[in-house]
Symmetry: C2
Subunit: 159 residues, 2 copies
DNA sequence: CTCTTTTAGTTGTAGCGTCAAGTAATTCAG
DNA sequence: CTGAATTACTTGACGCTACAACTAAAAGAG
């Protein structure tokens, strides 16, 4: 019953700024990658995840978990990346329902080429304005939010 | 040349979590509002902005600034809200290029009805897991990021 | 005044994401 | 060992957003 109280002034101020950042950041990162590497941020992110695994390969489900997205979204995206020659999809031998997405040489080169510019954008927009204490605080705070956002997805308004 | 250095372990950890939150939060807020009020988060946000002004009315450009979005996006959205009877668009008398978006009674009632559930979702996912110090830190950190994200939009990868 | 430039907003198109439905393989129940 | 349920993904349709092009009004230059 008390759950529908409005936010305090301090909470409101932080929330307003946070929403603005969440609204602005994706477009900013997208714009840099789109312009310099012809990739969306999410395309880059997916390929970067693959590039960090041994064999540059992951099952779709595992990849969807690591990139915090839905399977349909990933499936569409990987289909497009495949069309562009950056990944291949191969049925898994152990479980023939499963699909392995694998980075091609061309895809690996693409990520490597895009990485410096992307890191630059992340540094410029996110990391640079922060000092060491800010970074530690950000890490702690985002960890706490993830505790709510990641698990069951029971978003439920407490009514 | 030194600007393309990768992130330190601490920076990387914070960045990873932050990206995950930025990826997950919009969908979470959208889902609650969509389910309980048949509104997207952005639709709610725009109407909430209008509801806070005297006269429940703002020029399109001003509204686009306060909601951190582009004019085309806002124009499309307001057109849809108008079709649903939540806002009206009226040419401005002083400057006939300009358009005033005004919340209707029905629109105002809609926001009021949706607010508690939305605040509940924000509390649950963002504010509740934080203590007072976290909130102050979040406010400070997001303010610093906004300093980069808001102004010129010169995202430029420092190359 | 007239012509150019800038400002304010709208509209069309193309691409991405979500939701619902469908397919196919595997596991589990009896 | 057969049928039902679950898992792993794919596909199609629809809605929203970005980008570019367009219209119209106001401001500025000469």
């Amino acid at each position: 019953m008390t759950s529908t109280e409005w936010l305090s002034a301090e909470e409101m101020s932080a929330w307003r700024k946070f929403v603005a950042v969440v609204e602005l950041l994706p477009g900013t990162l997208d714009a840099q990658l789109q312009r310099d590497a012809d990739l969306s941020h999410f395309e880059y992110f997916v390929m970067a995840m693959l590039s960090e695994t041994p064999g540059h390969s992951l099952r779709m489900t595992q990849l969807s978990i690591e990139t915090d997205t839905t399977l349909p979204r990933l499936s569409h995206l990987v289909a497009r990346l495949e069309k562009r020659g950056y990944v291949t999809r191969t049925p898994c031998v152990e479980d023939r329902r499963a699909t392995n997405a694998t980075l091609t040489t061309s895809g690996w080169e693409k990520v490597m080429a895009a990485a410096p510019g992307h890191v630059g954008a992340v540094r410029h927009n996110v990391i640079d304005p922060l000092d060491a204490r800010d970074v530690a605080d950000l890490d702690r705070i985002m960890g706490r939010m993830l505790g709510r956002l990641e698990p069951g997805g029971r978003v439920g308004a407490p009514r």
